[in-house]
Symmetry: C2
Subunit: 429 residues, 2 copies
């Protein structure tokens, strides 16, 4: 972790010259005078500003060129030592908060003044004091990565960590996670930990803390409230429902998708309403069926990433399939058009892939709705070629499930049976 | 065209034995007696039924095993000769209806009793008599394909046909098209025919005519009404707006997506409202800016399909990019995560791709929202590696535009400039 994390150019030069580092308490004089802690920058569009967390808890950006004077009041280490101790309230349930990185972790840093993107219990309580009124929270850092950098082996690490807490006295577990691939991770955990005895909530933040519209604190409070109060086993994604601050929802981890690049309400349940509405004082349940289709907890934590997601489009090259076969791929999930089609141009190579013994499943790039391959001739042709229709399982979930099913099967028949079995509400019926 | 189109197994054997062919007028006796025309089957889930179009215009399915008697009343040719002649109303504008295949063409067949999925003017008028009150319609068949089988060369054929009518006296042109890839075709026409002097509407149908909920007739009427009344140049997709029969809308051809596998309201404008609401008596305009950003019509009909659409996901294999480079691809459109990211695992091969001189553009698999690659470190890394952010252009449109831009440029610089220029409202601002 750099002492000047995220600063470049003009602002970096200014900080070095002033002998001020991230985490230091400073007094800045420009037109007004500000007392606060110098924040690290995880989101940055320019090198002209530094970010200060004020005593009030708000962050502000200050233009370097307008600063008349900057004074070091206390260095970062002193601040860390002064972090408040956690008070345990024995009447409240215990919740475990795991951190994997992403904007939500950075955000907490911003508000606490810590210089690392990893959460600690003390940092957390001082950042979101409301949490201490909901649960006694233990925290643990699994790793610190933006979620676009996560790979299937990261999923497995998270699953192993959760598995180690399957017989704990926690009421539920919350996982802070980057939003880019949060739904892929949620799907893996849903399959790997089928039957897990306590609720798991993945939570993220779409807006970092140098914006007034940050959703991190409310999402986190709602996730903790959710695992404490819902009494529902399952893996859920807990995020803002709309652009106001009055409703956070819990989505089924296998039926959720990030459908907007920047909105706080980016996550949506596909083909239905969110499973839970999480209000300040109560939780409303929309989920009619059990999340897990099996009662006992039987962890299956392996994966095999030799699975490709292939989106079909006009001009698609059949040779891509040849390449996958030659590269040792064992399964292909197609994102077909409409009800689950690919053009005739792909038939020959699909036949070849089938003969080579790989699994081929069909989903739709329409995202919403159900694959139905017995309606048109194209679909029937593909069924005859051996492609397996995956009903309304969304393509990203089907990809993850195929990696998981391959990693936990001894044969293609067993893998195919797992793909068709509704394990964690990935099929909506 | 087979005389038994779509029939298999039990029903085919029955028809052959009875010497009855598709298009024949027959009298069928089971518990009740039916007079009607034997329909071809484009959608079929079993071989136990035959479909009859009754005099009333409705289709019914009759179970072969329950038929006591089938009598041939008139063979298909007689029926064709009896098609009503078109009456020309000189007070109405002229509209050209082109057909490329898909459910909408089959649908018209079902209702008229014709045995080919290609439209003719006579068949059309008898199927949807309301059309004759809106315009004098000429029809022409370009080809007859389900749209999942269309390739970029089909797009070009349609564009060439439209180009040949650029100086006609038509008020507008309607294109019947399968829905699976209608938005890809709409995007190509938008670029290839930029500045086209009269409105172009692509229209399709989500439900075939053996269902009471068919949307074919209303969509077609609305499309004709739209090109007659809107007075707006551009390429639009005209489809049902919801599940009721009271509103059809016109979407911008470069900002529309098929977002549901089966609903009549499957098509949606991404990131905004539909450009036009098409009511029975009037048309409401939401489109604030001109569709085409250039006034003069300058057709550019070429394409180069050496473009790949690459969706990034956890577990993505960088070797896919190597394969594309070795296969002569000239451009890659990434469907990144979130604001436009791919994992670090791809950086090395992206650098190599850049050095080999190919175009790489970034869109988001979130579908809605804008790529913003200067917010997080991941995005900034990718910008430095030479990936071009494509703002809020949707990935399918970006793919089609790259094929078009490559085919109509002499250099990578010219191609890149075309990619960044707003030509046909593909960028929403």
């Amino acid at each position: 972790m750099s002492e000047y994390r995220g600063y470049t150019g003009t602002s970096l030069t200014f900080l070095k010259k002033s002998n001020v580092k991230v985490g230091d308490s400073v007094k800045i004089t420009e037109d007004l005078t500000y007392l606060g802690i110098l924040m690290p920058r995880y989101e940055h569009t320019d090198d002209k500003h530094i970010v200060l967390k004020l005593k009030s808890g708000y962050n502000i950006g200050i233009e370097v060129n307008k600063i008349k004077k900057i004074e070091l009041l206390a260095s970062e280490k002193i601040e860390t030592k002064s972090s408040p101790q956690i008070k345990i309230n024995s009447s409240l349930p215990k919740v475990l908060l795991l951190s994997t990185g992403g904007t939500i972790a950075s955000k907490i840093d911003y508000r606490t003044g810590a210089v690392t993107p990893a959460l600690s219990a003390a940092e957390l309580n001082s950042a979101v004091p409301e949490l201490a009124e909901i649960a006694n929270i233990d925290t643990e850092v699994i790793f610190s990565e933006y979620s676009e950098n996560l790979e299937p082996n990261h999923w497995k690490k998270i699953a192993e960590k959760l598995d180690s807490y399957a017989k704990s006295d926690y009421k539920g577990i919350v996982i802070g996670h980057g939003t880019d691939t949060m739904h892929y991770t949620a799907a893996f955990l849903s399959f790997a930990l089928a039957g897990y005895p306590i609720p798991i909530a993945l939570v993220g933040s779409q807006r970092s803390s140098d914006r007034p519209s940050s959703d991190a604190a409310l999402n986190l409070m709602s996730a903790v409230r959710f695992v404490v109060k819902s009494n529902n086993r399952g893996v859920f994604v807990v995020m803002h429902h709309n652009e106001s601050d009055d409703l956070v929802v819990g989505h089924i981890g296998t039926r959720v998708r990030k459908n907007h690049t920047s909105k706080r309400s980016a996550f949506q349940t596909i083909g239905g309403n969110p499973a839970f509405l999480i209000f300040d004082k109560q939780i409303e349940k929309n989920l009619e069926k059990e999340f897990f289709k099996q009662k006992e907890y039987v962890p299956k934590l392996n994966f095999d990433s030799n699975v490709a997601l292939v989106k079909y489009y006009p001009g698609s090259n059949p040779k891509i399939i040849n390449f996958l076969l030659e590269s040792g791929y064992k399964a292909i999930i197609f994102e077909g058009t409409g009800l689950g089609h690919v053009g005739k141009i792909m038939y020959e190579v699909i036949k070849k892939a089938k003969e080579s013994g790989i699994f081929m499943g069909m989903t739709s790039q329409c995202i919403d709705g159900r694959v139905a391959m017995n309606v048109y001739e194209s679909g029937r042709d593909l069924l005859e070629l051996g492609i397996i229709p995956l009903s309304d399982m969304i393509s990203e979930t089907a990809l993850v499930k195929a990696m998981w099913a391959l990693g936990n099967s001894k044969s293609l028949v067993e893998m195919k049976n797992l793909m068709l079995k509704n394990i964690a509400s990935e099929y909506s019926d």
